[in-house]
Structure formats: C-alpha cells, structure tokens
C-alpha cells in the first residue's frame, strides 16, 4: 500500500527523523491559514500516489499566505497521472545547502532490506542511477543485527565530510530502518535529504510503501489508506477479500490464483479479446467471495461477457459453483457467462451447476476462445 507524503512524514517523525513542520489541507482557505501560521515562505505540494509531481506542476513555492492560497487553488485542480489532487501539504521553505538521496527497499535478491544513499540527490536520482551508478552506495542489512552504527556511519561518510553531519545522517539512517521495520515497509525514501546552510541535516520529502500483509494486521496503518484515491470497485473488492484491478476491456475474468489470472488475461488477448479486469478470488475461496466477485465485475458497463477460469487445488470448485448459483439467485447478470472448472471436487461442482441449468468446460484454451467469441458477438 502506498501512503501519502504527509503520512510518511508522520511515520518518520515517530521514528525521530527530523522533518520540518507541515500540515495537510484540502481547501485553498485552509492552505492560506496554515501558511499564515507557519510564517515566511511555504511550499505547497500535491498529495497523490504518483511520482513526478514537480514536473506536473504539483509543487509550488509561495512567499505569502495569499500566494499559498493561489498556488493551492491551481494544484487542487490538477490531475496527475489520472489521479485528481484532493489534498496538499503545506510546509515552510527550507534553505538548502546540499541535496542527497536516502532510500531503503526490501530486496528480493539479498532477501534483506537494502539501504541506498547518494550524494547526488534530488529529482534526477534515477538519472544518476542509470548513468553514474558509482554514485549510489548500497548495503544489505542483516535483520538479525539491524543497521549497525558503523554501517550507517560508513554510508554517511559517502554523503558528508563534516563529522557532525555524518553523525546526524547516520542517526537518520538508523531511524529510517526502525520506521521501515516497525511499519513493515517495502520502500522508504527521503529525497532529498538536505543540509541547511546552518549545517542541519533534514528530511525534506518522505515516501513510503507498506506491505499489505502488515497493513492487514495493523489498524493504525490501515487507517492511512486513502480510499478516495482508489476506484470504488477496487475498494469493494478489497473489502470482500479479493484482488482486483480494473482495466479497459470487455471480457470480465474471475480466476483463482494470480498467475492463472494473468495467464487467462494473456490468453484472452491472444485470441483477440480485451480483458476487463484482473481478479483473483484467492486460495481458500468460499461461495460468498464468488458472489462479491460477480457483483463487482458486473458494475462495469463495458462488460460483454464473463469468464470463470477455476482450477481447483485448495480452492474447491464446488464452493465456486455454489457461489455462482447464489449470485444468480441474488441478482441478474445480463451478459453471457462462460465457466471453466476443473480440479478439486469438480464432479460435485458440475452437479451443482447442472442443477441450475448451467454447463462448464474443462479446457482453458477452449473456454477463452469461447468467451472471446461471445463478447465479440455481443459488442
């Protein structure tokens, strides 16, 4: 789960990382009031789950409360990478002497959190990584010992020469690691980590992505979810325990397992169709999930046909059949449904479907060809 900058700042602050003051607002009037309270110049920053905000006009400097209000008026009308800006962060302008990069990510290869720093921080860090990788310093952290102070110091010496700044940066790295571990992050970034002309080391930006499996068990993190930034159908799906991503096609797909779901979409496309969604009903399915899945898929007016592709393992195909029957009982589905069903308890499943006059195919390739055909006929 991605969280907003203002939320990541708060998690960083809880870990002790020095972050300048700042408040979040949803209206230009609030922004003006905050700017007045903070005094001096402020920066107004769009809070959306997208990178490249600066280049999209989502970050503006203002020298007065009135200017801040005007900036907020503009920013709150923006849509950045399809996401309408609904909130802005207002923070004092900080006098910047140098910009560095500090990031942490869960690394598949070393199977550890990896910390990365670069003295060449700021908006062009990806460029730095691509063209001058020797300016990026990385270290895999042994979770049994955590980020050790000498490791943080060694990385901090790559950023600064002044030993006070080195110690301050090392401390921030240790705090970032704490924030990372405590909140089950998959990514945490401070870009830029700056020094002021007075020599202070501060975190000016804050980015964090959290492990959904940690968010699930932590109400405090779950509370950070911004549902206004998601499609309503995706919110519904998550509440029903389904993994769902809406797409632009017309063939609705209900599949068990992410890999099979993707392969199903690939095959729809292969046979000339366009998938309307990714939907994984998960492993231990129960009939209720299938009902929710059908309800969510049929919310999409573009849908011309629906494909069930179920290969039962831990998923029992009779559960799925029962779910289809229950759904058809609760609401009408106006488009044709092609059912492919095989594996655990398939005989029971076929009997259940037959009971309501439905049939099912056993072959995936055949089922996909059929659903593409009926969708095209209906279009």
């Amino acid at each position: 789960m991605n969280i907003h900058e203002y939320q990541a700042r708060e998690l960083f602050r809880q870990a002790g990382i020095p972050v300048p003051d700042g408040e979040v607002a949803t209206t230009p009037a609030e922004v003006e009031e905050i700017a007045r309270r903070l005094g001096g110049g402020v920066v107004v920053k769009a809070q959306v789950h997208a990178g490249g905000r600066g280049k999209a006009g989502g970050v503006k400097l203002a020298q007065s409360p009135e200017e801040a209000r005007a900036a907020a008026e503009q920013i709150l009308q923006l849509t950045i990478k399809d996401l309408p800006v609904q909130k802005v962060l207002v923070a004092p302008i900080v006098d910047i002497a140098s910009e560095s990069y500090l990031g942490m990510i869960m690394d598949r290869e070393s199977q550890r959190p990896v910390i990365m720093v670069s003295p060449a921080g700021g908006i062009d860090i990806e460029e730095v990584a691509a063209t001058t990788p020797e300016k990026i310093f990385k270290l895999a952290i042994d979770p049994r010992y955590g980020l050790l102070s000498h490791q943080a110091m060694g990385l901090a010496f790559a950023l600064y020469h002044d030993v006070k700044q080195v110690r301050a940066a090392a401390r921030i790295m240790e705090q970032l690691y704490q924030a990372f571990v405590t909140n089950g992050a998959s990514l945490a970034e401070i870009n830029p980590l700056i020094t002021t002309s007075a020599g202070e080391v501060l975190a000016i930006d804050a980015k964090m992505s959290l492990d959904d499996n940690v968010v699930d068990r932590r109400p405090d993190l779950e509370a950070l979810r911004d549902e206004s930034a998601e499609a309503p159908s995706e919110v519904l799906a998550r509440e029903a325990g389904l993994t769902f991503i809406k797409l632009d096609g017309n063939v609705g797909c209900v599949v068990n397992g992410a890999g099979l779901a993707m392969a199903t979409m690939d095959l729809v496309k292969y046979y000339g169709g366009e998938p309307a969604n990714f939907l994984d009903i998960g492993g231990s399915s129960n009939p209720e999930k299938v009902v929710s899945a059908l309800r969510i898929i049929t919310m999409d007016p573009n849908i011309k046909a629906i494909l069930f592709n179920i290969f039962g393992g831990i998923t029992r195909t009779d559960d799925v059949a029962n779910g289809i029957v229950a759904a058809l009982d609760q609401f009408s589905v106006d488009v044709p449904i092609v059912i492919r069903l095989t594996g655990t308890n398939e005989d029971e499943a076929l009997a259940i479907l037959e009971g309501v006059g439905k049939t099912a195919l056993k072959d995936m390739d055949e089922a996909v060809q059929q659903v593409v055909r009926v969708a095209q006929e209906a279009a």
Partner: protein, 289 residues
C-alpha cells in the same frame, strides 16, 4: 528419482486439525504420502483419522516419529512461528502453504533456516509433488503422473494447468515444485534447476514465471551456463497493467522493471523454449527432447 521429496519422505503436518490442514492431509494420505505426525498445540495425544498421532509440538513429533519434512497449513499469524519451530525441531525440508505472511518477518526466518541447513519451499505456494511417490502440499494428485519432466513454478493454479497438459499428453513428471509468488521465498528457480539437472530421472524441465523481480532473468542465465537438459518456459502477465511502481528505489535496485517481455527475451537468449500459451508446453518440450 525425483527432487526434494520421494517415497521415503516422512511428513509432519503443522495445523493438521484446521479446515485446510485436515482436508489436505486426507488428500496427501490418500495419495500415499507417509504422513507420520500432525501438530496442533493442545491436541497432543489424539489421533487424526484414527491413524496419525497428533503432538503439541513439532519437537515431540520429530522425536517420536522421525519426521524429516514439515508442511505448514496454520493461519498467517502463526506461520512464521511454525517455520522457526519446524527448523528448530530438526526437519530438513519445510513446505509453507500459508499465504499472507509479512515480508519483514520472512527476513528473520530465512537466516535461521540457513544456519540450520533447512530448505524451505514457499511460503504462499502450492507445495511439491513427486508423482507416484509423495505429495506435500495442495497440488491435486489426480492431474499428475509419474514421468521425467521436472516443473518449477512461481504460481499455484497455473502450475496445475500446465501439469494437466503434460499428463494428458503422456508427459509424466519427476517432481513439480510450486516455489510461491512472494517477494522472499526459500527455494528459487535456480535451486530447482540445479536439482533437476542432477536428477538422472529428469529429462526435460518446465519453468513457469511471472512479471516482477528478476528471478527469471537470473534463472535464464543459470540455464545458459549450467544446464544440459532441455528447458521450456512461460511468463504470466504479458498483458498485465503496468504494476505499481516501487518509487526510485525499485528501479535502482533491480536495474529492471521486470516486465514479461524482458523475461521472455531472457528466456529466448538462454535457449529456453518460450510458450505463448499454456497448451504449447507439450509441443515445445517434445521438439526439444
């Protein structure tokens, strides 16, 4: 022959009395897997299906029955602890079916297992089956057949799809391993490729990958340098929407965006036969064997 599990495998089931655990234990027993023990704290002393002794701890189960392999069906909140427990009790292979584990918790478990020389398959995986010998996990036994194809997959149900194709066309399997789709897993493609290469009864190999990460690229490199047996592969997610970007750091660390196109190209470069559809597995394999 086979890899990782065979007819000698003595299995302890962690979470044997739960909904999923009991269902799949019955299936494993029917398949012929030597299920020698089950564990559910507080139910020690009873028997599962009047046959399999249940213990309070894995340590007791191992001491009493000589179990050498564990399969985990406990809920996510207990699965991390279950892996620590199994490794501490001395089993040599752990298969963790449970999904929903926090990655940060996995970073603690993995070195604990490594220190003890314990292999983990999973988590969030369908398990492993050596057809005709032993099934550990949830892969439906009836779609498999004994034979000489080794299969390794990041996916669950997609594995069944492909195994089903193989079996229906007379290509039995030495072993099928579902390594799981989580970011941090115990056994990866390369571990399985190496084992299949060394297994005299495996004559052809199928790899099923997915978008995300760079495991498939590394596996392709390994195939190029170390494998003599024919390999065919598939990447799911060719039409998947662009995944949520992991910020700058994601690009930096992987040096790659992990797209299907990139992975399929890596397969081609390494001489791996690339399947466009799951049904193609049979023809591609037969052409190379």
């Amino acid at each position: 022959m086979s890899i990782f599990v065979d007819r000698e495998t003595k299995l302890v089931v962690q979470g044997i009395t739960g909904r999923d655990g009991s269902f799949h234990t019955r299936q494993m027993m029917e398949y012929g897997t030597q299920v020698v023990a089950g564990v559910t704290p507080g139910k020690g002393g009873r028997r599962f299906e009047d046959a399999v002794p249940i213990f309070d701890t894995v340590a007791d189960a191992v001491a009493e029955t000589g179990a050498d392999t564990s399969v985990i069906y406990v809920p996510p909140a207990f699965a991390i602890g279950a892996m620590f427990e199994a490794a501490d009790a001395g089993v040599k292979l752990i298969v963790c079916i449970t999904e929903g584990l926090a990655v940060i918790d996995m970073t603690k478990v993995l070195p604990f297992l490594q220190e003890r020389g314990v292999r983990l398959i999973g988590p969030n995986c369908p398990g492993i089956i050596s057809p005709g010998q032993s099934k550990v996990g949830i892969i439906p036994g009836n779609i498999c057949a004994p034979g000489n194809i080794g299969l390794v997959s990041r996916s669950g149900t997609l594995t069944y799809e492909v195994v089903d194709q193989l079996t229906r066309h007379g290509l039995g399997q030495s072993t099928c391993v579902g390594i799981g789709g989580d970011p941090l897993i115990g056994t990866n493609f390369i571990d399985c490729l190496e084992a299949f290469e060394n297994d005299p009864d495996t004559t052809g190999i199928v790899m099923l990958g997915e978008i995300g990460g760079t495991d498939e690229q590394q596996a392709a490199e390994y195939v190029r340098n170390h494998l003599t047996k024919p390999v065919v592969g598939f990447i799911a997610g060719q039409t998947a929407p662009p995944g949520r970007r992991m910020g700058h750091a994601g690009a930096i660390i992987s040096g790659s965006s992990g797209t299907a196109a990139e992975k399929m190209a890596a397969f081609e470069d390494a001489g791996i036969g690339v399947m466009k559809r799951p049904v193609e597995v049979v023809d591609l394999l037969k052409a190379r064997m």
